[in-house]
Structures are given as C-alpha cells and as structure tokens.
Amino acid sequence: MEVELANQLTASFGDAFYVCDWSGSHFRVLDRAEYLQRINALPTARQPGTVSTAHGNAHQEAWRLVSLDKKSAAKAVLRGSFSLLPAFARRALYPTGLVLLRIAKKVLAGLRVLKQNVHKAAARAVRQRRRISVKDDSSHLFPFREGDVFLSVGNDWDYGFDEALFRARKSTGFTVVRMVYDMVPYLFPHYSVDGVPKRFVPHIIDASYGADLVLCISQNTERDFLSALETFGTPAPQTAVVRLGDNIAVENDVFIPDNTPVEIKRIASQPFILYVSTIERRKNHETLYRAYRQILSANPSAQLPHLVFVGTSGWRVSDFLNDLALDPVTKDFITWLPWVPDEDLDYLYDKALFCVYPSSYEGWGLPIGEALSRGKAVIASSAGSIPEVGGELVDYVNPWDTSAWAEAIVNMSSNDDYRLSREKMVRDSYVPHGWNESTQDIVDKIRELMTDGAKNREH
C-alpha cells in the first residue's frame, strides 16, 4: 500500500510530497533515490530482470519452503545430535539431559523476567527523561510548516513520536493524518506480541489528540476505535473510512506461467483450498486443522481438497506448526508455504478451488477481497470487519465452531453446483476495489482536509 500511496501522492502533489524517516529522535526527509531503493528492497516480487526457469526458480525459492523457525530448528539440531549417539550413551545421558533441560528452562524464564524488568526500568527512565526533556514545542524535530500535511499509515506505536508530534503540531499548526487498522492489542491483548498492548493504548490516545483526521480501514475498525476512545475519556478526532485494495501488485500485471516454481505448480495440480494469512493464533488456522482432523478421523478416505496455508509464521505458533508437520492424520493434506512472491500468490488464487478465512477478528480482511476479485467462492468467519468485505457474497461460519467449518468445507468442495453458483454470484456482483482507488481515496480526503483547513484559517 505504501508504494501505491507514494505513487499517488507524487502524481497528485509532485515535489510537494516527500517521505520522512523517524530516526528515534527526529524526522529526516529522505532523498527520493534513497526512498525508491528502500521500496525496491521490499520482498513482494521477484527481482526484475531475473531469467526464470522452472528449475532455477525451484532453487531460488525452495530454501523458503523447507526452512523452519528458529525454535523448531534448534530442537531439531538437539534431537538429531542426540540420535547420532550410540544407544548406551543415549540411555546414560537421557536423565541428565532432562535435568539440564529443566534447569535451562528455569534459567531462561528468569532471564526473561530480568529482561522485562530491565526494559520496564529503562522505559520508566525514558518516560522520566521525556517528561523533563520534551518540555518545549518540539517543532525543531519536525521539518513541517503550517499548511503542510503529515501522513502516517504505519503501525507506529513503537516509534514513540506521538507526544513530540502533538507538541509540534500545537505550536506550528501543520495538519496530521493518522491511520488505524484495528484495535487488536486493546481488544485482544492475548493475541498480541508481549509488550505491544501496553504501548498500544497510550499511542492510540496520544495519536488521537494529535490528529486532525484518523483514517480507519473499515467501519468496524472505526466503531471499535471510537468506542475505545469513549471508554478512555479521549475526545474523538475526525474519522473517515478508507477501503483497502483487492489486487496483488503483480509486476506490470503480466503473468508468465512458466515462471511459476515447480513446487507451486505441484500444489496447484490437485484441488486445493487456499488460506492466505500470517500464521498466528488470532488467524485461527487451528480451526481448519481441527476441521480436517475431524473429517479425516471419521472417514480416512474422505476426498478432501488439499489445504494450503500461505503466510509467514507469527508468534506462539511453534507447537501448532509442529502438529501440522507431524500429525499423521492430516500431514498429507495440509501444506504450509511461509512465503511466496506476489506472482505465485496470484497463481495460487487463480487455481484454488475456493478460499477460506476463519480469523477470529480482523480490521478488514484483505485476502477475502483478493479472493472475491478473482471470482472465488469464500468461506469466512463472521467476526470483526469480515462481513464488510464481501457482504452476502461470502459464506459465514462461527470461527470457534469446528464442526460447522468441517461441514462448510465438505459442502463447498463436494457440491459443485453450489460452489459454481457462489462463484457466479461473486463474478456478477463483486466490484473489485484496486489499490489505486484506495490511495486515491486517501488523497481525496487529504485534499478535503487541506481545503477545510484553508477555509478555517481564512476565518
């Protein structure tokens, strides 16, 4: 989105648009060449100019397919080394090994607590310093003037510039536009990385005080955001909803089937269901795994399509990934692709039987739009903003109801008439929304704000 947005802003505002980088203490204007270099380094597409053969691509991409996360890798190395020892040595070392493992776990737990306490003490010290040092208008930290518009569309609770931005805006009078994707760290702290929930709420509050406009990616996010502000007692800034885009940015929009890696082609050669999402607890891959397990335990010869997960692994999912890799009931039916380039993702969408999205909460649900824009039938959870994406074009299932998911998957895969009718409805009714439209929407809202701001200044 940032790339598309930068392009739109350049087209709309020319040299009046520039990108800044937060160094931890102040904003720095980026040289255009430096910015383009950073954008091109993002891993969304294959390197331009690559001569791709099926074999070459297999080597190029295969390393991603077989790599494990670090914890699993460490376990595998230990297990492997232990296995290489002779039997008598393994027998002798096993009890000692267990004891050492227990001690190591306790030490690690203690170190984690110590690290947390050090971080807490450091954070307290920073807060104390900030209270004393951030006492001026902070305008020197921001290269903006009255009439300028500062736009941030990142998840920037870790940057710590909210208070300084508030002060600078107060003294200088430039306009600030922020973005809220969802309220997950506040509403579902148990799904968030350690420490994020604690940083998130102060960020949301301070960002709200310092914003002229907050863009929300769905009506649901807007509702959750405003409701949270009301609970906190924070005055609500002006808000607007902007819809995210559906299209994957395939380079030059040219799809070359011969470029697709062998592994991807192999997966796509049999019927499969696609779920595109980071693997983390909130995304609820576990319900799909349990649904498959339920079906296959009852009927080992069930004709089920393959289930393909595309997405990197997030936090606290190593046990789940272990289950996927080892469960004899399901392991031949579920494939996990940690990462695929956009072209291959486009290919997978194209070839999928249908798509699923069982997430327990979303701020929007990008992959649903991606699937619908390709005319695919979708089974999705009814939580959060998900129903806003596809409305009545999607089959909804309670994210916590494994049996209902099993039933929906079996029905959609085996009932061709039903699936085809749903696809037709999607093709006839769904209106795709491109990233260019999303970013144009953002630009339009900024223009409106600038016009209103100019009028207010006149008065």
Binding site: I205, F232, G233, P235
Partner: protein
Amino acid sequence: MKIPSHPTSKSVLMLCLYPLSNPRHGGQIRTGKIKEKYISLGYRVRAAGVLSHNSYPRERGFIKGPPPKVLTEFLSHPVGLEDYIIGRLCGENDIWFEKLQKQIPANVDLIHVEQPWLFSFAKQLSHTFDSPPPIIYGSQNMEHLLKEDILGPAFEEDEVRKRVRLVREVEVNAIKEADAVVAVSAEEGAWAEEVGARQVTVLPNGVSASSQTSRARSFVQSLGLGERYCLFVGSAHWPNADGLLEMFKEGLGCLAPDESLVVAGAVRHLVVSDSRFESSPNLREKTIFLGELDGEDLSELLAKAHAIVLPITSGGGTNLKTAEAIWAGKHVVATTKAMRGFESFADAPGVSIADTPAEFKRELRRAMDSPLPVISSEEREKRKSVLWESSLRGLEDLLHSLEGQ
C-alpha cells in the same frame, strides 16, 4: 501563636492515636487545628495517646503501640482494626491503661477524644480525677461505615458484618456517653443525634491560608510536571486510593500528551500496589507520584495546578482536600461524596460534580480545556468559610455551653 482573647486557667487533654507535630494526614491536621483553637481560646492543651503506626515519630505524651503479636492475640487477622484493638486494650487491659495514664497529668478540666477508639479509656480516666471533667467526642467519620469499605475486600461477608458491629458498638457508645459530640458534617451530626448524642456541634474540615515561598516555587518548577497538570492529594487512606482507581480503571485518556495526573501524598503505595493501576490503560504512563510533601510545597503544587480531582467514591466524613481544592480556586472535579460537607460550593465557578468514570473523565477534559475559573471578590469572601478559623468557630460556643452545665 495568637494571644488568647479571653485567657483561662483551664486545661484540656486531647487523646488520639497519632502525634500532632508535623501533621501529614487529615486526621492529624484536623486534631492539630482543634488543638490550636483551644490554645487560642486560652486553654492549656496536653496531647496524649498511642502511636498506632510504626512510622509515626516519637512524641511526648504518646506511648508506642502494641506489637503485632498482641494485636493478633486480641483479634485474629487484625488488619484494618488496629485502632479499634488499641482502644479496647487501653480501656480494658490494666497494663495498657496504666501505661497511657502515666502520660497524663493528674487533673484536667476537659477531655477531648478524637475518634472513638480511646473514649473508653477517657471515660475510665475521668473517674480517677478529683472531679470528672466533661468529655467531648470528636468524630471524624462514620467509622463503622468506613471500616466496612476497608474490610470488605479482605474478609468474607459474615466476618465483615461481625467486625463492623464491634466498631459500631464502640462508636455509638462514645456518641451516647460523651457530653458533647463534634461532627464534621451535617450528615454525621444527624446520625449522632439519631443514636442518642446529648449535644451535637458541626465543625467542618477546613484549610489553612498558606503562603507560597520561592523555595517551594523552585522546587515545583524543577519537577517538570508538563504544560498543565491535574492534581490529586491523598493520604494513605483506602477510600482515597479506591476512588482514584475506580474512576480511571478503564483507562486515563482524558489528559492530552502534554498533561499529567500528579499524585501527592502517602496514597501512592496503596495505588501502585493495586492491580487496577497496572491494568488500567495509560494510567501508569500519565501519573507522576510525588509522595508526601510539606505544607509549602503542597501549597505551591496547588497554586500551579490547572485542576484538582477529588474522585472519592467511598468512606464517610468530609475531605480536607475538598476544602483545599475550593480554597485553591482552580477547576475542581469531584464526586458527590467528596463534596459532602461542602455542598454549598457544588455550583461554584470551576466546580464540576461527576459520579461515574465516564462523567468524571468528561468533566476533567472540559476543565483542562477551559481557562482557569474567574473568582470574584464576592466568591473569594464566600470561600473564606472553608478556612479553619471559620470552620472551627463553633467550638467556642460549644465550650460555653458545657461550662454552663
């Protein structure tokens, strides 16, 4: 010290469970001001009692409180009832009675007992004098209700009821047996009359008109408290902490990034040790704790505050801090409970009443967004009624009426 306008050779013994020099909490301050009033009326005052807490400094006339073992032997799990147990020991145990009696002169003309704990001791003591003097019971609260709030989280319902009954017995006994009751609010006075007080005088809490010093000014400036701050001052009294935490437990989002909640007083340790402090979004981040401060520094802090918050949701009595807040002339955001005894100021300029967390935060935001209230000279005159010299005026009439009996 003011020279008494009508000197008298009369003496008064004041009994309480805390020392009176360098007063920190509301009870000490009130008792200290009553002592000053007696002196201004020409009385010789002798203060005595039991130091109910290890943190109290030694003072002439006061004996050290019983060790935890003795408290536990009297009542298992004595937490929250230490003052009650000390009172029972001094009233019923010969060793403790004599220990305290040794601190007291042979005869006095008047006994003034602050809070009901040492009333039983006072009653027995009065019979050892040549002529039993009148006893004034100085009520600071409806103690049994306060104990109910304090004991509630710590004990089962039945046990709370049992313990509250014990406190009520002592309290009602003091009210009935005293020759006069001094109450802090009309509500308390009415209750005392209901349970059988012979005579009731309402002397509300007040505030001193203190001056600001350059030292205190520099001190407060050096704290870096932000562009604007709202102030909460509280002693280590459970209702103080509970109210603050209740009002902000769902998050403190009504303060802008350049504003803070400054908390002064011993209430700090009660607040930070409560799980609501950590779990409330943004509360820790916005709060600056200053601990206990002396009078000058506190005056300066009040003078520089933009708003004063009084989020009292439990407990009885009246709040010294309410008097301070009204006198300070800043925005005041208070609960109905906090305004008890000061109801006439509910519509005063800058004063907002809010009883729910949502309302409280809304009013606080409104206060922080508004300029400081304009206090006319008329309004300033009216606010002088919260000064101690006004609030304790009725003591003289009470003493005259006792002399006449």
